[in-house]
């Protein structure tokens, strides 16, 4: 049966509105994705033509100790910063959901770090995490603990970066806040009548009702953290002793420092594979703890 003029008009409008994004995707995302896949099978040093090397780059990748070090660091940083980001942003959202005077101001203050330039954030945190006069070590020192060299000790560098990235999770907090406002008040009232305290209400009402939002923020946060490199480049450049060398930074080095675009593309595809693997694992685990109101 032929579509009605109204349906055809709607379809035309749909395609028209989607066109800028489609064009952008094809030329600025889809095209480079395909090209990088092809380049990953070549030796390409930017100023000479790419030479087909088959699977050599992938074989080199498997033998490259720095790649494995970067993979380990990437997973560590990704998991820690995604988990810390979700915990912090959910806690902040719970606090900011309490109706108190000046609520909008508090929300603005907590969200503000998310719109600060990445480099300004890095400069600020270099000082906050400073081993001698940094705020973090000062606060730890108040309870008699000698703080570590956050960005200079190989064991503490990634935790230091995780603390910094947690500070900028305002976007996740906003999503949590919106989600919290959608939890029916009647559920809390029912739990309250049943004698549930704040912890029980949180555990048995908030968490299950928010589980799809927690899952969304966890997946998006983890993918973002796996791709992180800009602040790490500025703050530690992969050091000390390669303890913060992550795959994003490794791609950057090969692409824009050594200009070996073929191998850089291979590392980028390895990173993509890693993202896919961990996302699939998260979706598989989600069946056990994410509860959807509508099936």
């Amino acid at each position: 049966m032929a579509a009605s003029p109204l349906v055809r008009r709607e379809a035309r409008r749909f395609h028209l509105f989607a066109l800028p994004w489609s064009i952008g995707f094809v030329f600025f995302t889809g095209g480079p994705i395909v090209v990088s896949l092809v380049l990953s099978f070549t030796r390409y040093e930017l100023l000479s033509s790419p030479q087909w090397v088959g699977l050599d780059n992938y074989a080199q990748l498997l033998r490259d100790p720095d790649f494995w070090m970067a993979t380990k660091n990437t997973v560590y940083f990704g998991a820690a910063s995604a988990a810390a980001g979700v915990v912090y942003s959910l806690a902040a959202a719970l606090l900011l959901n309490i109706k108190v005077r000046g609520q909008a101001i508090f929300r603005t203050i907590i969200y503000m770090p998310s719109v600060i330039s990445g480099i300004a954030t890095a400069l600020l945190w270099i000082h906050v995490l400073h081993p001698d006069y940094g705020l973090v070590n000062y606060l730890i020192g108040l309870v008699g603990i000698q703080g570590p060299g956050w960005l200079t000790d190989a064991s503490w560098a990634i935790p230091g970066l995780v603390i910094m990235t947690t500070w900028t999770t305002g976007n996740a907090m906003i999503i949590f806040l919106a989600g919290l406002q959608g939890v029916p008040a009647s559920l809390y009232e029912a739990a309250h009548i049943d004698g549930a305290g704040w912890w029980s209400r949180f555990r048995h009402v908030t968490v299950p009702m928010m589980s799809p939002v927690i899952f969304f923020n966890l997946v998006v946060g983890f993918i973002g953290s796996l791709q992180a490199y800009q602040l790490i480049l500025f703050m530690t450049d992969g050091g000390p002793a390669n303890s913060t060398l992550v795959l994003g930074l490794y791609v950057y080095r090969y692409a824009f420092k050594y200009f070996e675009m073929g191998y850089a593309s291979t590392i980028a595809w390895a990173l993509f594979f890693l993202v896919i693997v961990f996302t699939v694992i998260q979706f598989a685990l989600a069946r056990r703890w994410v509860h959807y109101e509508v099936k």
Binding site: V115, S117, A154, I174
Partner: protein
Amino acid sequence: MDNPLRGLNTTGLNRRQVLSLAAMAAAAVPLTACGSGERTRQAGPASSTASASGNSAVINPDRPESALFPYAEAEQLFDSLPWPKTNVPEPTSKVTVTVAIIPGQRHEVRHAQFAKFIKKRHPNIEIKVEVTPFDDFRTKYLTGAASGVLPDIMYSQFQWGQSFIKNNLYLPLDDYIAATPEFNRADFSEAALSYWERDGKLYALGTDSAPKLLFYNKEILDKAGAKAPDASWTWDKLMEAARGLVSGTGAQKVFGFTPVPKPTSDLTATFLRAHGGRYLTADETKCVIQEPASRDVLKRWIDLLIKDKAMPDLAETQATAKVEPFTLGRGALYVGGAWNIVTLLTLPAEQQFEWSLTHVPSGPEGRFTPVLGSAFGITSRTRNPEAAWIVLNSLRSYAGHRFFLDTPPSRLSAFEENLQDLKLDKEVIDTTKDSLHKYGTSDGVLRLPATPKLEDLTKPIWERVMSGSLSVDEGLKQVTERVTPMLAENV
């Protein structure tokens, strides 16, 4: 696969809320991306010229000037200088020559003034200056070269020269030099040109050419009752003195000596050759850092760092935010490039201290210091090579060096005058000149294509050595193992 967004639809978010979230997320991306071009500057001559310049201001192209370089004075200086001639023909119609430089108000204003005044001598040549941050310079122009676009004249730091030449980014200058009878190649120090020579051809002309010198903080030495170093000092004596000059802790700590020797581009020339050691062979195809001469001296330096705590460790380097402790007044002795003279002279009043400099110490095999610098060359993509030579020849002539006040200049004829302009003591000028002439060298300064990769590969190993978690012997073994396969890229 489950839709991760499905949960949002069931938690009470309406369409307006979803759109608001999307808009906020979209707004956050460009805001967060601001400032992505800024990164830590690489140590070396280029970084000092850029950082010493201060903030960039808007330059009026009709009357370019700054507080440091007033327009009238600049024009008077330009008119008084003996600008060079060449037999290379002038363009018969208007041409534009693009010059790619690194930033810094000192550079930008001077280039803008040069571009304006040179029209008096070459009315058909219009100069367009492109300014690119040092850290992004290579990326921008190599990417441009890959797509066939380059400026006519392009800056190069000493480590980039051979890579630019190997990839045919620069034109050889020999034919143009031959057509310029008054061009005196001997006026450039040998070291200044060596980074841009290949197979007997010359590809770029130097701007600055700086030897490394031993700087010392007179106030720290006086307080410790120590004698100022002089030309008689050996490296042994320096190490002994450094041990006695350490004082304080934390943010107030004063270091006896900086910097810590590391496997970087000038390790050989600065710290190893005086003891008969090397990091790589002269042709940069073999790693010899494990040999006894290098190993023994590096062990002594690491002892000075770990046992005597006379040099900044990793945490202390972080604590000074990567700024050289000597320029913060927290280093007693410092081996650094002559470009630091300008940095020290232009310190804010509240940070200034009494300093001086002398020759780097000598060792059992003699006295050596690396000579480092930058240059400009004509690119292979230029559409106006003859006009570009006319500009380059002026830019890098004696008059050009005087006009741009390069410190220290690559041209020996401008050396003393440029340093005298800084109102330096005669002793300082003579020491700088002698170090360049008598023992300055480019031998041992890494410059071949594998260099950036070598520095990244060895850095984590050496950081473990510096932290004491790896012995010097094991560190040097690992350095050799990691570096050796990469050296094939230098063949």
